[in-house]
């Protein structure tokens, strides 16, 4: 914690660890270490004085801490070249020991991306597999909210600190993640401004923490693709969803498939590689639905996505009725709105 507060980089810290003997050093030994520059030493000294206050603040904000010396520290992170020295978190850290799938993708997804992210987020929840993602706008947030919505657990790795969740619009989702038994963690302590490079480091963490990395939508040059590179470096399996060849948002994923990532159409495609058996799918009980509701759902049988007008045409009902019924079905989690009056069956 001392080094985190003193803003010592992970790289310096790793060097320090190799220099260090097993026993826990006191302040003077640390300050005498050749790894640190004069500036570092100064900030370590200041941080040392501020430690008590900082601990109180953490306690006050109910922030939990896990350092790399702790048992709960996930071993998978040590696979990184410079693993984070400390993790600040809300929620259940034991989640990191479980088999998990990371669902990542563009911050500006297409309708198709939204649909896929939602589908896989939900499927993971159904199969009780935790998802790992970055709580970002777009695919990350959608996948995680889908998991939470269907009673699953999800791990959000932040590039900002815990008290300033970025983007702010996902604050409510963050609260839901914790209350549903998920985990939100970051290596950054509060009080420091959030810098762009932190999100790249966050991507590294996501790559390390998951067992399988599923890319939903990504342009050929994007933040998502950096995550993929990190994951490849430490030997994670990459899964990708194929997309429209003309859509720039699928150019990255299609290229991944071309170069060997597994084309994924179903969660089963991932699970079989790890010899995991899917839990029995829940049979939807449609007997409680009204005649019209069933009629609307039947319209979805041949089409993944339908427009309100199409549904009205297929069922022969009026627009007012259809608009009403679709909301009811969405609340009952049979369909999902993908915007622009388009709906998908889930």
């Amino acid at each position: 914690m001392l080094f985190s507060l003193a803003n010592i980089s992970n790289k310096k810290f790793s060097e320090f660890l190799t220099w260090l003997d097993d026993d826990i050093p006191d302040l003077n030994t640390i300050l005498n270490c050749a790894v640190f520059s004069a500036k570092n030493r100064e900030s370590i000294r200041i941080a040392y004085d501020g430690m008590d206050d900082f601990k109180k603040q953490l306690h006050h904000s109910h922030i939990n801490v896990c350092s790399c010396f702790d048992k709960a520290y996930p071993q998978s992170l040590n696979e990184l070249l410079y693993p984070p020295k400390i993790l600040y978190y809300f929620g259940d850290i034991r989640l990191l020991q479980e088999f998990s799938i990371s669902i990542i993708g563009s911050r500006k997804p297409t309708q198709y991306g939204i649909q896929c992210a939602y589908h896989f987020g939900k499927e993971s929840a159904v199969h009780r597999i935790p998802t790992v993602s970055g709580l970002a706008m777009g695919i990350d947030g959608i996948a995680q909210s889908a998991t939470v919505e269907h009673g699953g657990k999800t791990v959000a790795v932040l590039g900002s600190n815990l008290l300033e969740i970025y983007p702010k619009s996902n604050q409510s989702l963050a609260t839901k993640i914790v209350s549903s038994g998920g985990l939100i963690l970051t290596e950054y302590h509060h009080g420091n401004p959030t810098l762009p490079h932190q999100f790249v480091e966050r991507n590294q963490m996501i790559a390390a923490l998951c067992d399988a990395l599923l890319v939903v939508e990504a342009a050929a040059k994007s933040g998502t693709m950096t995550t993929v590179d990190f994951a490849l470096d430490i030997g994670r399996n990459i899964y990708a969803i194929c997309g429209n060849i003309f859509s720039p948002n699928s150019s990255g994923t299609n290229r991944l498939i071309q170069s060997g990532a597994k084309l994924t159409m179903d969660l089963q495609d991932i699970l079989e590689d790890y010899d995991l058996k899917p839990s029995a799918p829940i049979q939807r009980d449609v007997s409680s639905l009204s005649e019209l509701e069933i009629q609307v759902l039947e319209a979805f049988e041949k089409n993944a996505q339908l427009h309100v007008e199409q549904i009205a045409g297929m069922t022969g009902r009026g627009i007012p009725e259809i608009l009403g019924i679709l909301n009811v079905l969405e609340i009952k989690s049979y369909v999902i709105s993908t915007g622009n009056q388009l709906f998908c069956r889930i």
Partner: protein, 509 residues
């Protein structure tokens, strides 16, 4: 000798009676006008002299003083030409006093004595109506159209100065404006018509609800998705103006000289100012504190196309007139309160390039730009909309060949729903569902347990704000009225929610 004629002036949009007094005495020939006249009135000296002489009438070569009373109000406009000329001629012809005292005169003179069109005729006539001692008014023939609006006094039309003079001497009779007290039903087809809009059924439905309950309505969608098409057809499905509204709107349009055929046919005004419009042109103002677009849209529709392209300041000033239904404009010399009770209709792109969330085209904006763009409209302004609809430039084969519903059909349903509302709120100071007071909402929009539970689930699932609750109920009430249902059913509520979700989607809850 002292002579007198009666005319009227205008303050804001309201008229008032002005006495035009003329004193014709011996002395150096000259014409002086007092009583706070503006430049147009001062210039009338020369017009009047030429008009009288060119009409082959005798202009007295005497010292003439004209007083416009009450003399403490600043007067403007060229319509005082006729009363001034008549009061001068009175010294010559000794007109029938009885007639002159009971009749207001309005009209600008051209140099050959012809009467010219003036602004504000409806306000003048209404001012005459308010004075029991006045029985009639003479106006220029060109203003006859707008004069049909009022029926309480005798309105005579004249073509030139000689006709008026002869009439007052009892030598001829003037033509009266034909009175049209009955509502002129519009037999002709509504143009433009909803028949011509292919697809976009959800937006059409929203337009119907909006027209029926006077709900402010925002359309958001890519370019070419038909937003403006829908907006232009909105006034066609609304009820025609009743007598009171007709009079108010006529007064406004007449006072700015914009009276037109559509108002005569009792069609509601449709105002669509361009997005480069200034705050003053929208709200009103200037030296004379003139009415702006919000006033011209009174009892009609104010449509802001490309709403987010308007200046932020301009948009925000709309909040007060929308809420209060009037606008107060104060300048150094004038302070007027204008009515501005309009249906607020707006359309916007979802981002600077217009293709954000469009499945068939790619958006080239980054998330920051989109966010900045959408937040040009403040939360309080967005809260004034009841209905939000997303629109897409796509059409489906299912509806390619089907006949689209005509405006006439939609209008019938709208009128029926409005009748129900007027009946329900007859003891309240509001007329339509959009204006239900918060304290009355439980009385008029009761929910059963199932609906209540559904509302809770929906608000939780779709992350709607509590503020939306009231709005959703109002819209659901209108939907129920459109189906002539006494109670708000779950089905109505669910449909109402779908018009609210777009707000949460684009602007967060």
């Amino acid at each position: 000798m002292f002579h007198q004629a009666i005319s009227a002036g205008i303050e804001g949009i309201d008229g008032y009676i002005v006495q035009v007094e003329a004193d014709v005495t011996k002395g150096v020939p000259q014409l002086n006008i007092v009583g706070l006249p503006d430049v147009a009135i001062r210039e009338s000296k020369d017009r009047i002299r030429s008009a009288i002489i060119n009409s082959d009438l005798h202009y007295p070569n005497k010292r003439i003083v004209i007083n416009l009373s009450p003399s403490d109000i600043k007067k403007s406009g060229s319509h005082y030409d006729l009363p001034i000329a008549i009061s001068i001629l009175d010294s010559e012809f000794k007109y029938d006093e009885e007639k002159l005292e009971r009749m207001a005169l309005i009209g600008e003179l051209s140099l050959n004595g012809k009467l010219q069109k003036v602004e504000g005729v409806v306000s003048f006539i209404l001012a005459v109506c308010n004075r029991p001692d006045l029985k009639a008014i003479i106006i220029p023939a060109e203003n006859a159209q707008e004069a049909q609006v009022v029926s309480d006094v005798d309105i005579y039309i004249a073509n030139d100065l000689v006709e008026v003079s002869d009439y007052l001497r009892g030598k001829c009779v003037l033509e009266q404006v034909k009175k049209t007290t009955e509502k002129e039903t519009t037999k002709e087809a509504i143009q433009p018509n909803f028949e011509d809009v292919k697809g976009n059924l959800v937006a059409k439905r929203a337009a119907e609800i909006s027209a029926a309950g006077y709900h402010n309505f925002l359309m958001i969608g890519a370019p070419g998705s038909g937003k403006s098409m829908i907006a232009k057809r909105m006034s066609g499905i609304m009820s025609s103006m009743d007598n009171e509204e007709y009079l108010e709107v006529s007064k406004i349009y007449s006072s700015v000289g914009k009276f037109n055929d559509e108002i005569l046919r009792r069609l509601r005004p449709f105002r669509a100012p361009h997005h480069t419009s200034t705050t003053k042109s929208i709200i009103g103002g200037g030296n004379q504190a003139l009415p702006g677009e919000v006033v011209l849209a009174h009892k009609g529709i104010l449509f802001l196309d490309e709403m987010l392209e308007f200046q932020k300041r301009t948009l925000e000033t709309l909040r007060q007139p929308i809420e209060d239904k009037y606008v107060q404009i104060s300048r150094i010399k004038h302070s007027y309160q204008y009515p501005s009770d309009f249906l607020f209709l707006a359309a916007t792109n979802p981002c600077p390039c217009g293709n954000h969330l469009n499945p068939s085209k790619d958006c080239t904006c980054n998330p920051y730009q989109i966010n900045q763009y959408l937040h040009r409209a403040s939360k309080p302004l967005l809260d004034r909309f009841d209905i939000f609809v997303e629109m897409l430039p796509i059409q489906f084969d299912e509806f390619k060949d089907t006949v689209q519903e005509s405006s006439e059909k939609i209008r019938t349903r709208v009128l029926r729903a409005q009748e129900i509302q007027l009946n329900r709120y007859r003891e309240k100071n509001y007329k339509f569902n959009s204006a239900i007071a918060v304290r009355d909402i439980e009385t008029f929009c009761p929910l059963d347990d199932a609906s209540e539970e559904f509302m809770k689930a929906a608000f939780d699932k779709f992350q709607l704000s509590l503020r939306s609750y009231h709005k959703v109920l109002c819209v659901a009430r209108t939907i129920a009225d459109l189906q002539e249902s006494d109670r708000i059913e779950l089905q109505h509520l669910s449909e109402a929610i779908s018009f609210r979700r777009v707000l949460a989607k684009y602007w967060g809850s």
